[in-house]
């Protein structure tokens, strides 16, 4: 285990070139989340279109892990139907809590698989989860989805 396993290429790329980092024009729900120990912050906004597809935008500042995670999240779930997005979130949360024991499924997680190394650094798991917690909370506030309230804690 070393630091390169944590900072995979994909993560560095999302960190340097974030996708979806912008406010959402007509947000239905918004959530601000902060990591009280290091000060990382992220605000996620969500909306659902007529076809039931999710749209997300975010703002934030923080370490490479939290910011890359936000970018991966925004890119992946943008335009997804709500239940698929929920499934991705579930899979990501599970991966983070796996202590490295779960083999991530690229089919489901896409670029999210790059975070597999994070699960071995307990102090960084919170960083990676921060935007996903915000997504869930924003959805709940907007009344979009999700039965699984509180599970990403």
């Amino acid at each position: 285990m070393n630091v390169e396993s944590l900072y995979q290429e994909i993560i560095l790329d999302h960190y340097k070139n974030p996708r979806g980092k912008h406010p959402l024009a007509e947000a239905e729900g918004e959530s601000y989340q902060v990591n009280p120990t290091c000060g990382d912050e992220v605000t996620v906004q969500v909306a659902r279109d007529r076809d039931g597809h999710l749209h997300v935008g975010y703002e934030g500042q923080g370490c490479s892990i939290s910011q890359a995670s936000a970018s991966v999240m925004a890119e992946m779930v943008e335009g997804m139907d709500v239940s698929t997005a929920d499934a991705v979130r579930h899979a990501f949360v599970e991966l983070m809590h796996s202590k490295g024991a779960v083999e991530p499924d690229e089919e489901v997680l896409g670029d999210g698989v790059a975070f597999v190394g994070v699960a071995k650094y307990p102090a960084r798991i919170k960083c990676a989860l921060l935007p996903w917690m915000a997504l869930q909370d924003a959805q709940v506030k907007a009344g979009i989805g999700t039965e699984d309230q509180g599970e990403a804690r």
Partner: protein, 426 residues
């Protein structure tokens, strides 16, 4: 079937029990209600923590910090499990006294903040004139003085459930004591002076019925019997580490999640915050909200080791063992003319703290003679002074046992009492 305790084997785990006192007498330790002794497993767990992974928890991106955090949170999970609670609902404090103050301050802080315009305070914690707080006449000062203070700061009224001649709660007028004005019912599970085990779930049901918060001081029960916090029916349960084989300097508070979530903070500072600005702050969710500053990490690790030790014995077996000792002590003391037991006379619903007075002898002098026989007991009012007054005694002498005692210890104590009687000619 519970396996009886192997006292001889247990004693080998406690380094202090190998020592002698006063002119080379073997130590007979009968003061576990004050504080228990510690097996080497607990002592070593603490030193190993310092030797191998000491660091600030929940902070820092380094490996030591990760390991220290694991040790601390792992201890929380283990200790919570011991009382059938969830780790998220367990708060670490410095002792049970702080745990109880933490709860009492939720009311005085809640009242003061509400008065100064904070309308986010849960109304259950806004207390004032016309409201009442109910305790019993057998509380330890730790569950009495903080409530007196709340009353002095808010104008609320303190009421109490009396104690009968046998050392049991007098529950006859309960509905005039716990009524619609009552916001808090806080009672001791097992009295440290009388040994009485109170019907706490009944009392908690009364609290619930009037919408009051129910609090149990479990200092003398959790170390000595199986306790499931859910079954107590309480909102909050407080106890100490040092009475259950653990180190000094750590206490516990378990709370129902919904109640902890609603409680305003007590001690404030680092680690209990969400955001901090110069002019205001927001607070973290429980249990962190109640754990300001650098926590008692090594001590939590020590209590977790104590839990392992007790779990290996089985709390059923611990309870059964102490029940035998209690019955034996009561019987032996009854056989000594001039000895009067303060507290329930029989071993029904009774723990192992046995208080007594000896005609013509002051408890302090009895204690001194026992000390001369190598027996460590506690004398005084045992931080339950009003209970002494209730029985019209200035103080008592108290024997209290634990897993490392057997009936021979009680025999030595009884010999000491007789020697004191003889010496003083009473």
């Amino acid at each position: 079937m519970t396996k009886p305790l192997d006292v001889a084997r247990i004693r080998r785990d406690f380094p202090i029990l190998q020592r002698t006192v006063r002119d080379d007498r073997p130590l007979v330790y009968l003061d576990s209600a004050a504080t228990s002794q510690k097996p080497f497993q607990v002592i070593d767990a603490e030193s190993d923590y310092y030797r191998s992974c000491n660091a600030a928890v929940h902070r820092g991106a380094h490996q030591l910090a990760e390991e220290a955090t694991d040790a601390y949170e792992g201890a929380r999970a283990k200790i919570a499990g011991f009382v059938h609670g969830r780790p998220e609902d367990l708060v670490f404090t410095k002792n049970a006294t702080e745990s109880l103050n933490l709860v009492a301050y939720a009311f005085s802080n809640g009242a003061a903040k509400a008065q100064h315009g904070d309308d986010a305070i849960d109304p259950r914690f806004v207390i004032g004139p016309g409201d009442s707080i109910v305790v019993t006449q057998m509380e330890h000062h730790a569950n009495l003085v903080p409530w007196q203070e709340v009353c002095a700061k808010t104008g609320a009224t303190l009421r109490w459930i009396g104690v009968d001649d046998d050392g049991r709660l007098d529950l006859r007028d309960l509905s005039t004591i716990i009524d619609e004005s009552t916001k808090v019912v806080s009672v001791v599970h097992q009295s440290n002076l009388l040994g009485t085990i109170n019907p706490v779930s009944e009392l908690m049901a009364h609290a619930r019925a009037v919408g009051a918060l129910g609090i149990v001081d479990a200092c003398q029960s959790i170390p000595h019997m199986p306790v499931d916090v859910n079954e107590l029916g309480a909102d909050l349960v407080a106890w100490s580490g040092h009475k259950m084989l653990g180190p000094t300097g750590i206490g516990m508070l378990w709370g129902r999640p919904e109640v902890l979530e609603a409680m305003p903070p007590f001690i404030t500072g680092g680690s209990m915050i969400e955001t901090v600005f110069m002019d205001h702050s927001t607070y973290a969710a429980p249990p962190k909200r109640f754990e300001a500053g650098t926590p008692m990490v090594a001590q939590a690790v020590g209590v977790a080791a104590a839990v392992d030790y007790l779990d290996a014995l089985g709390m059923d077996a611990v309870e059964a063992h102490e029940h035998v000792l209690t019955g034996y002590a009561l019987e032996q003391l009854r056989n000594v003319p001039g000895v009067r037991i303060i507290g329930p006379q029989d071993d029904h619903a009774r723990g192992s703290a046995v208080s007594f007075v000896v005609d013509g002898l002051h408890p302090h002098d009895v204690g001194q003679f026992l000390d001369d026989h190598g027996v460590a007991v506690r004398v005084g009012h045992h931080c339950a002074w009003p209970t002494c007054r209730r029985f019209d005694v200035p103080a008592t002498t108290r024997l209290s046992t634990y897993i490392y005692n057997d009936t021979s210890d009680i025999d030595v104590a009884v010999d000491g009492i007789r020697a004191a009687q003889k010496f003083f000619g009473v």
